[in-house]
Amino acid sequence: MEITELLEIVTVSRHFDAFVALDKVSLHIEAGEFFTLLGPSGCGKTTLLRLIAGFDQPDGGDILLDGKSILAAPPERRPLHTIFQNYALFPHMTVAENIAFPLRMAGIAKKEIQARVAKALEDVRLPDKASHYPDALSGGQKQRIAIARALVNRPRLLLLDEPLSALDAKLREQMQIELINLQKDIGITFVYVTHDQGEALALSHRIAVMDSGKIVQVDVPERLYGFPNSRFVADFIGKCNLLAGRVREQHGDSVIVELDGLGPVHVCRSEAKFAAGSRCALTLRLEKIRIAAAIVNPTDDESHFTGHVHDLLYLGDVTVYIVTLANGLLLEALLANSASGRTNFFEVGDQVEVAWSCDAGHLVLD
């Protein structure tokens, strides 16, 4: 078997007194991957990053880089660098001196340092900022200098701790695109920590969703969004309707679920096996629900309900309709405001019909 695994995290635990920050976490990160640790604050993602960087030691388990444990090495001797949330540029050094820092530490000759710093500044498109001090830079520029500094001596791995959280929304999107392209160009493995699921979906090759010190699901973005393995993941990634119910019967990948208050619905292409009678939740993405005054040509594969518009959120490109179904259950659905000259298709109080096909929803155990 060919080994492409760069970083291996083996049953790593970390406790702070009684608080379990990491509980036997295991992960494999491949060379060249853009890997994201995603989770709410306090889930342990930053703790894990600090363990990889070496700022903290695990209470149990091992961390292997290229198959060798790095736990004994202090941070300064690990071939990986971190981008800090506030960039941590040295305020008393110029931009060029900042970028030269890791090269100086590695004992590289002055001449070569100059050449590589100049090249690094070119790469982040800030060649004229060499003699500026960090406090004369904008947030985005600081970010790029921090990246240039961390990449200038070609680490095996780059750790990024919520690097975009200090930027405003527009700049953040621009930096996301830059990060994707940068990672593709240089091919260095990125381990990225964020609590922003949108950012994680946009950037990553693979995402590990974390909660309370555990890894809940590791998958590519499309599968995390489409096939969450738990209520937590479904709820954390994107917007989602969660309809509670009980499994009635399963034939192959086709499941009949008795939804609380709504009655039986058909779920097809279910990957997991469910025991009859087990509690479950049907996760339904907002955009997968059809909403209309009257559903035309309903198919046999579709589940189909009537309700009233309870509330609506006009978001510009789309409008989210919150529909009360017959039993008082609230269901969110959205429609793109693509028709010209109209804003909303429905008003509060309108009677509407909602429908979804059997492969629109995804079942998780409750």
Binding site: F55, P75, E76, F84, A88, F90, F101, P102, M105
Partner: protein
Amino acid sequence: MQGKSWSKYLLSLPPMAYLLIFFAAPTLIMLFASFRYPGEYGGLAPWYVHENGRLTFDLTLENWQRLLCTDIYLRLFVKSIGYAVAATLICMVMGYPLALMIARSSRKSRDLLLLLVILPFWSNFLVRIYAWMIIFSPVGALTRMLNGVLALFGAGPITLMYSPTAMLVCLVYVHLPFMVLPLYANLEKHDLDLLDAAQDLGAGKWRRFWLITWPLSLSGVTAGSILVFIPVLGMFAIPDLLGGTDGIMIGNVIKQQFMESRDWPFGSVLSMVLTVTAVAVVLLGSRLGQRR
């Protein structure tokens, strides 16, 4: 807006007036006095005389010439600067690790440690010096123990009192908090992420200190050094009590001129030189501290 800036000036008027009356004016008076003759019974002689119905100034450069015609005062200045430099350096070497340790300790213990640093201020300055006199006295426990140990190795007895060592110990003891407090104020504000970043980028313990912590603390080092250097430079109480005959500093001579010799003009000359030296050091220090 206009009214606002006006009230700003009004607010700064009392301290300005205070400094003008009690600092600027006396300094000018001293400067002027340094060109006058001493009075017959101390004080100052009149600076003008009526002669043949004409008013003539009675000023002189003699006092300044007296400063320059012998090297005794120059040597005293050099010696005082030497003590001040030594005390400042010792305070820095001792105070820096202390300030760093306090700044890096938990928030709870920080308050207690700071309190301990300023605790000596709660007792009178002279009382603290007298305490050192007791410690250093030939019949004191410290001297006797030291000499006891020395005797074991066949070395002769030593005296601690009235020695440059005793003076330095006391100068450092009295001025250490003035070094620690500004250093602490500076170090406490440091962003610890910078140290993590430096370590992450390959810097070991010593390089983290010399390349990050030290350059970022220079303004605190400067402030602390000025606060120690200047009072030590003009110190007379400690040399008076602990210095013995060889231990006098320029401050003692100035005091002597005003109190015992009753030569105010020459005392003024020495004071002016001391003031200028101190100002020069402050300017030099703040220039160094401002450098990136």
